[in-house]
Structure formats: structure tokens, C-alpha cells
Amino acid sequence: MDVVNSIKPLLAIMVSLVAACLILLTGDRSKNLRESWTILASVAKFIIVASMIPSVLKGNVLEYTIISLAPGLSLQFRVDAFGLLFGILASTLWIATSFYSIGYMRGLNEHAQTRYFFCFAIALSATMGIAFSANLLTLFVFYEILTMATYPLVAHKETPEAIKGGRKYLTYTLTAGVVILLCMAIIYRLTGTLDFKPGGFMAGNASADMLRFLFVALVMSFGVKAAIMPLHEWLPTAMVAPTPVSALLHAVAVVKAGVFGVLRVILYVFGPTFLHDTGLWIQLAYFVSFTIIVSCFFALAQDNIKRRLAFSTINNLSIVILGAALLSADAIKGGMLHIAFHGFMKITLFFVAGAIYVKTHKENVSELDGLGRQMPLTMGSFAVGAMGVAGIPPTCGFISKWYLCLGSLEAHEIVFLFVFLASALLDAAFFFPIVYRAFFKKPKEDVNPSFNEAPLFMVIPLMATAVTSLVLGIFPNAFVHFIEIATLAVKNILGG
């Protein structure tokens, strides 16, 4: 494994920062120019990230140091397989979301669009920073920037609920942030370094109690963003944000950043050997299984579409963590793949929710009767996405779930196999009523049965992501080589 010095990680982050400044400068004067900055930046970012794929697949690691603060402490980027996976996901989906945002914001004639696009660009910069961090300090820096950049997006509507949602979001994430700061300081003092190492570096550096405490504290604080119960409450409340925000950020960027952080802690700070020896892996696995099952029941009880999707997101995030906690090669691979594949599927579902809102101003499941006749493309994509989340072939969701189930067998824990299967069943239980209502029920009075889709800018992205879910289900290694990257990452962690 060679270390290559390359400025590409920094470029990937700077692209959207520069775009953010340009967006701010262009402002409200020329809307098309402003939107085109966003699209240009998203495409450029994707190209930069994609250009790193061949090098990483060869086994290289791309490094770039911004500045060194002290021995063992620096702001540094290191693009390894796992980080690249997350980076590809975020940059690909930003392209789709940019087009979708244009359709959504203009369709609803929203206010404060400049602020919206500005914060979005910064949030994506921060996400890339998180993906490419070489150590806990860099991760923390970009993590906090992400929190700050997404707060104005959550409170965008400026209604009292939006402000309350923003406050709750800040309370949860800032508290988690300072706990991470404390743990980071302790780790730095104990080991003298904060760099991520595949297989962990903490073992044997402090008393067992201190290590346990650090592990629990770190997992729980990153787990706030990853919406592990009982710290999940901010996510359904944050659904008050505009749908593109919910789609990209709260299905893909912010929550996946949380999960990414949890996985980095489990696999690159503490390491599978430590978790295995202390038995923490089983405790963690049971803990997140609770979230997996209970969130499905919450989802069943929600009428608001976005809240239902929020609980489904909570479900899937814990599935990823469970995969990592099982510590077997296939389970970890499945978890990492699920980060990527679930992103595509969930964003489709959120896009559909937004399209429905823009076209018909409906927000609840009970109002969706017969909508499939009016908006067949939209609801069809929803069906594909739902199938994916439930894990039905030929969607990509099936592939990640398959690896996860294999992994639980490898780890000799049948219980979790049942957890995965049960969650798939419950997913079906709360998604299929929506599909059924849309296509098979008679439309209510106010639903126009003739073809009347949402604006094109919205429909094309959501169909694109739905189709990608299908394509990735059949050719999982297509375009961006997700499976190869995930396999490489697991090989590095478990030591070949």
C-alpha cells in the first residue's frame, strides 16, 4: 500500500467552497447563474472524486496535509477505500440533488434561495472533508462545519416549528460534538496520535475501563448524527426542512456522516480485535438491534410521509452499524455497501415525497389514494426505492442485505440474521401500503386522474436515482466500482 501525495482531496473540498462564495456574490440578481454555479461545482466535484478511484483501487492512499498543529496532531486528508466510498456517494448524489433543488425551490417559489444554495455548497464541502479525513481532529473540524452549515437549512422555512426543529438539531449535535472533543483530547493524551489506522490503534493504551468509556462515549456521540435510539429524536423533527434538504442531508450526507464516524471509530480507532476481546461487539450489536426493530414500529405509526421515511432511515443506519459491529468480513462489507446503496434508494423516496408535495401539496400517506394514475413515473420510482429498502432483488438493496445476512452467519450469531429479516419484513409492511394506495386504490375527489407529473427538473433526478438503484442491483460494480472499493476497505481493516 503506497502513500501518494496528492492535492485532489483538497481540491474536492475547495470546489464547493469556491462555488459557495460565487453563489453568495451572485445572490438574487441572476438566478440562473447562481444555479449553474451549483451544478458546475457538483459535476466538478464528482469528476475530481472519480479521478481518485483508479489510484485507490490499486491499493494506494492519497494524502495531503494542510497544516501540522503539534506532533501527532495535524489537519490532514487521507483518501482510503472507505473514505472514497463515502465521497463518491456524496458527490454523485449532489448532482442529482442540485437539479432536484432547482425544481423544488422554483416550483414552490421559496424564499431565501441564495442562503439555501450557499449553505448546501458548504455542507457538501464539509461532507467531503469528513470523508477524506486522516484523523479524528480533521473529522471533528469538518463535522462541526457540517452542523453549522446544515442548521440554516433545517430552519429554512422560518416558521415556529422550523425554528424549534433547528434548535433541537443544534442541541443534539453540539452536545455530541463537545463530548467528541473531550474524548479526542483524552485519546490524544493517552496515545499521542489521532490518526485513523485500519484495525485500530487504541488497544493496550489505557485501562480497560477507560477504553470502554471512550468507546461508548464516542459511539454514542457520533451516534447522535447516526440517529441511534434513544438519541434519534432530532431526525423526525428535522423533517420540517425543505425536502431536498431532507433528501440529501438527512438521508445521505449528515446521517451518513454520523454512521461514517461510528464506523471509523469501530474499525479504525478501536479495531475489530479490541471489540472482539472485550465483548463490546455483541453489546453494541444488541443495542442497535433494538433501534432497528423499534424504529420500524414507529414508522408504521406515522402518517406524514417524510416522518415515515425518517424512521426508515433510522432503521437503515442502525443496520449499517450492526453490520460493522458483527466484525466479520462480509458483514462489514455489507454495512459499507449499505451506506452507498441505501443512499441511492432513500434519496429516491425523499425525492418522491417532495415531488408529491410540490405538485399536490399533500404530505400524508392517507391522502395518496390513486396518485399513481396522475404521477406514474414518480410513484413507480417510489415503488423501486421501496423494494430496494426492503431488500428485494433486483435492486441494490438486496445485495447489501445479502452480504449482511452472510456476515451474521459468518459471525455465528443467528439472532442478527433474524433481525435483518424481520426488519425487511417490517419495511415491506410500512412501504407497500403507500404503493398500494397510489396504484390500486380509487382516487379521491381532488385527485386528477389524468397524467400530470411534477416538474421535469424533479422527475428526472428521481427517476435517475431509481434507475441507478436497479442498475447497481444487477451490476453492482458498475461505474464507480462500489463492491471493489468496499472489499478493499474490509481487506485493509481485517488485515488481508
Binding site: 497544516i67 503539534a70 424564499h111 422560518e158 425554528i163 472533543l181
Partner: protein, 501 residues
């Protein structure tokens, strides 16, 4: 070489200029501002020259009038001094430039007096930092205090009374400091700081020295507004004119903290302050109380400046906490925080001053109705970035000093301190996000998120450039100095810490 004379130049030039400003002001008001800025620029350049010399050669000993210490007064500049000199002169210069418009608006007849006394104030603080003689420090402390009494009294409605109370309390503080110096003189016969640190160790058991130490701490505590001796600060800084608050908030308390470091670790050796008397322990716990008190009371304030005053009290708590940890990391964090806090507080008070200049009132609950986010977007952006720094969000500089403070607390095995640091970060987040919400997000009547991007009648009515540019220079500093903090520590701060840590 003129650079050899920088230690004297940095004091003499503003002193003489202040005198001339007063004279020139009899006839023409216009040159006063420019003369003051000229003097402050000379000071700033001298301070950079001094820092340069110290980095190359080590400690500078400058004997005033050629008299040898310990009989003559000498100026001793080591790394700690030089660093703080640069900070104080920089903030003085920036706020001096900033002050032009607000002084013209608030009291146009008193411009010469203002600039003359302001220059004296900056000079006094620089003198306090540079001197190596304990009694000389008292003199300069009083010069500073008198100048600040006069400047604060120029402010708005409640200012004369607030300044009077400040006179009373400040004099008590200075007199206690003088008593401390007196007791030390009685037992050692010397007033020179380096000499005292040689002579005192044999006398540590003597009661007089203990009493002197106590007097020093109380006196400096009053000047530094260290809880519970902070009572004069909220009233005085709230009612003071905007530029005065911006400057003193950024510097007076920090120079007070510098004097505390000198007393604790230079005059009295670390052994005395840490082990013989648990002074650092007491200071540490009081600092925790200061942090909590400041942040909690800040939440309750409606006036923006009063809120910032309580945050200032909390910030002083941070610095003293870092000092009291008495280990390398903690003291690094404290000194770094002196720099960061000077910039942050000066910037925050400058923003409050800009708001006052434009709108005429500082009530937080009015901010949304005033449409400040549309009228003064740049000022509000500066406020937001600085607020993030106070909370401790990376990559602003506030995060880095908090990082070192937390590591220092862990090093000292004081978990309560670490938790207190974290709690106060969260509390200050509550304080600032309350204001940020009111600026950007308070629901408008009628609530309609879909009224589109209306280019309504709200015209951008920003603060004037002469106010915005200084504010943005400080914001730039906040953003960049954080990332450079590693360089700063390795070049300057590392050497400022006593070797025994």
C-alpha cells in the same frame, strides 16, 4: 539603530502624541484622529520589531536612562511580553481606525479629548506589558485606569455613574496592588521583578510575603474582572462608547491576566504558587464559577452589549483556568486564548457598536423587526463567525485554544475542569444562537414561506467602510490564526512558558 530603541519608542511616541493631540485640538479637530492613528501605527510597528528581536535574540533588557537594575527601571521583554505587546497594539490600532465614525456621531465636540485619552490608554496598557519593575507597573496601571475612567464616562445615559463605581472599585484594586508591592519592598528592598524573584525564595515562609501575595491576587483580580470581583464590569462596559468598549474589552482584562501570570510565575516562582500555597487550585475553582456565572447570566440579557460583557467575564474565567492548571498545555491554552479572546471580544463589541451606530439601539428582541440580516448582512456575518469562535467551533481560533485548555485539564487530572469547559461551550452556544436566531430566523408576520424571493423595500444600509474594514480584518484574523495556531505555539508561546512546566 532605531530598532534598539523600540522598547522606549513604543511608550514615548504615543505619550508625546497624546499631549500634542490635545494642543492641536484647540484649533483644528480634523488632525486629531490621524495623529492618534499615526502614534498607534508606530507602536504597532515597534511591537512587531520587538517581537522579531526577541525571537532572534531572546529576552531584551532595556534600561531606562541607562541606570542599571535593580536601582533603575528596566523594561524586560521576553516571549510572553512581546506576544502580548503585538496583540494590544494591534487591537488598539484597529479599534482606533474603527472609532472614527462612531466618535463623530456620539460626541463631535470632544474629538480631541477622546483621541488624546485613547492614545494614553493604549500607551498605558503597552507600558504595563513591557515593564520589568513592579512599582512602574502600578504607575502605568493607574494611567490606564484613569484614562479608562474618563473614556467610559463619555458614554451614554448611565455612563457617569458606572464610571464612578468603576473609579471606586478600580482604586481599591490598584491600592491593593500597591500594598502588595509595598510589603515586598519592606522585606526585600527591591522593586525589580527579576530581582524579586531571586530574593524571595528565601523568604517564602514569612507572613509578609504571604500577605503581599494575597494583596496582589485580589488587586489584579479586581482589575481583571475575575469573578467575584467583576461587579464593575457589566455597567461600565455597557454604557461606555462603542469604540471604548471594543478596545478595553479586548485588552484590559487580557493585560490583567498577563500581570497575573507575571506575579504567579515570575515574581513568585511556580513552586510557591502551586505547591506551597494552593493558589492555583483556588484560582481554578473560582475560574470554573466565573465561566458558569458568565455564560448563565449572559442568557438572561436583552441588551447585546451587556450580554457580551457577561461573556467577557466567562472568557476571563477560561484564561485563569488555563493559568491555574499549571501545566504546559494549560498555560499554552491560556496564552493562546489571550490572543484569540482579544480579537473575538474586540470584534463582537465592534459589531455591537456598528449596530448602535446604524440603528441607535441594541435590544436583541428588536433585531428581526429591524431586518438586520438584510440591512447589514456583512456585519451580521462577522457577528456569526465570531460567535462560532466563542462557542469553539472549528476552524475558528476559539476552537484551538479550547482544545489546548481541555488537554491541559486532562493532563492535570481535573475532570471537573474539562467538563466545565465543555458545559460552558454549550451554554455560550445557547447564548449566541439565541441572537443568531433572532437575526436570521425569527418568524415574521405573516408567516409565509412561499412568498418567493421578493426584493422588497429593504435596502442594504451597511455600516460605513471605516467600521467594516477593521471588523473584517479581525474576522480574518479569527479564521486564519486558528489554523496557524500550531505555528504560533511553536515559535512564540512555547518559549513563554516557565521552563519548569
Amino acid at each position: 539603530m532605531i530598532s534598539d530603541q523600540f522598547p522606549a519608542l513604543i511608550i514615548v511616541f504615543p505619550l508625546v502624541t497624546a499631549f500634542f493631540i490635545n494642543i492641536v485640538g484647540w484649533w483644528w479637530k480634523k488632525p486629531c484622529f490621524y495623529m492618534s492613528v499615526l502614534a498607534l501605527t508606530v507602536s504597532f510597528i515597534s511591537s512587531i520589531g520587538i517581537l522579531n528581536t526577541v525571537l532572534i535574540q531572546g529576552t531584551i533588557h532595556y534600561k531606562l536612562g541607562g541606570w542599571d537594575p535593580p536601582w533603575g527601571i528596566e523594561y524586560v521583554v521576553d516571549h510572553l511580553n512581546a506576544f502580548i505587546l503585538v496583540i494590544v497594539s494591534f487591537v488598539g490600532l484597529i479599534v482606533g481606525i474603527y472609532s472614527k465614525r462612531s466618535v463623530e456621531q456620539d460626541f463631535p465636540q470632544k474629538i480631541p479629548q477622546f483621541y488624546s485619552v485613547y492614545t494614553l490608554l493604549v500607551m498605558g496598557l503597552l507600558g504595563m506589558t513591557i515593564t520589568g519593575d513592579a512599582f512602574n507597573l502600578y504607575v502605568l496601571l493607574e494611567i490606564t485606569s484613569l484614562a479608562s475612567y474618563a473614556l467610559i464616562a463619555m458614554g451614554e445615559d448611565g455612563a457617569p455613574l458606572a464610571s464612578f463605581n468603576y473609579v471606586i472599585m478600580g482604586t481599591i484594586g490598584a491600592c491593593f496592588y500597591l500594598l502588595g508591592v509595598g510589603y515586598l519592598y519592606i522585606v526585600t528592598g527591591s522593586l525589580n521583578m527579576a530581582d524579586l524573584s531571586e530574593l524571595l525564595p528565601k523568604l517564602y515562609h514569612s507572613k509578609a510575603v504571604l500577605v503581599a501575595f494575597a494583596f496582589f491576587l485580589i488587586g489584579i483580580g479586581i482589575k481583571m474582572a475575575f469573578f467575584p470581583l467583576h461587579v464593575w464590569l457589566p455597567d461600565a462596559y455597557t454604557h461606555a462608547p462603542s469604540s471604548v468598549s471594543a478596545f478595553v474589552a479586548g485588552t484590559m482584562t487580557k493585560v490583567g491576566a498577563y500581570v497575573l501570570i507575571r506575579v504567579l510565575f515570575t515574581i513568585f516562582r511556580p513552586y510557591f504558587s502551586i505547591e506551597l500555597i494552593p493558589a492555583t487550585t483556588v484560582l481554578g475553582w473560582t475560574a470554573v464559577a466565573a465561566m458558569m456565572y458568565g455564560c448563565i447570566l449572559a442568557i438572561a440579557q436583552r441588551d447585546l452589549k451587556r450580554m457580551l460583557c457577561y461573556i467577557l467575564i466567562a472568557e476571563v474565567g477560561y484564561i485563569v483556568l488555563g493559568i491555574s492548571m499549571a501545566n504546559r498545555m494549560g498555560l499554552t491554552g491560556a496564552i493562546l486564548h489571550i490572543m484569540n479572546d482579544a480579537l473575538m471580544m474586540a470584534c463582537l463589541f465592534s459589531v455591537a457598536g456598528a449596530i448602535m451606530y446604524k440603528i441607535g439601539n441594541r435590544d436583541i428582541t428588536n433585531f428581526r423587526d429591524q431586518q438586520l440580516n438584510k440591512k447589514m448582512p456583512f456585519t451580521m456575518a462577522a457577528f456569526t463567525i465570531t460567535a462560532l469562535s466563542v462557542i469553539g467551533i472549528p476552524p475558528t481560533c476559539g476552537f484551538f485554544s479550547k482544545w489546548y485548555l481541555v488537554i491541559g485539564a486532562i493532563d492535570a487530572q481535573q475532570w471537573v475542569f474539562a467538563v466545565a469547559l465543555i458545559l460552558s461551550s454549550l451554554l455560550s452556544a445557547v447564548v449566541f444562537f439565541k441572537v443568531i436566531e433572532k437575526i436570521y430566523f425569527k418568524p415574521r408576520e405573516p408567516v409565509n414561506p412561499h412568498n418567493g424571493e421578493t426584493h422588497e423595500d429593504v435596502v442594504m444600509d451597511e455600516a460605513p467602510m471605516s467600521m467594516l474594514i477593521p471588523i473584517y480584518i479581525m474576522v480574518g484574523g479569527i479564521l486564519i490564526l486558528g489554523i496557524l495556531s500550531g505555528k504560533i505555539i511553536s515559535t512564540v508561546i512555547q518559549f513563554a512558558i516557565p521552563a519548569s512546566f
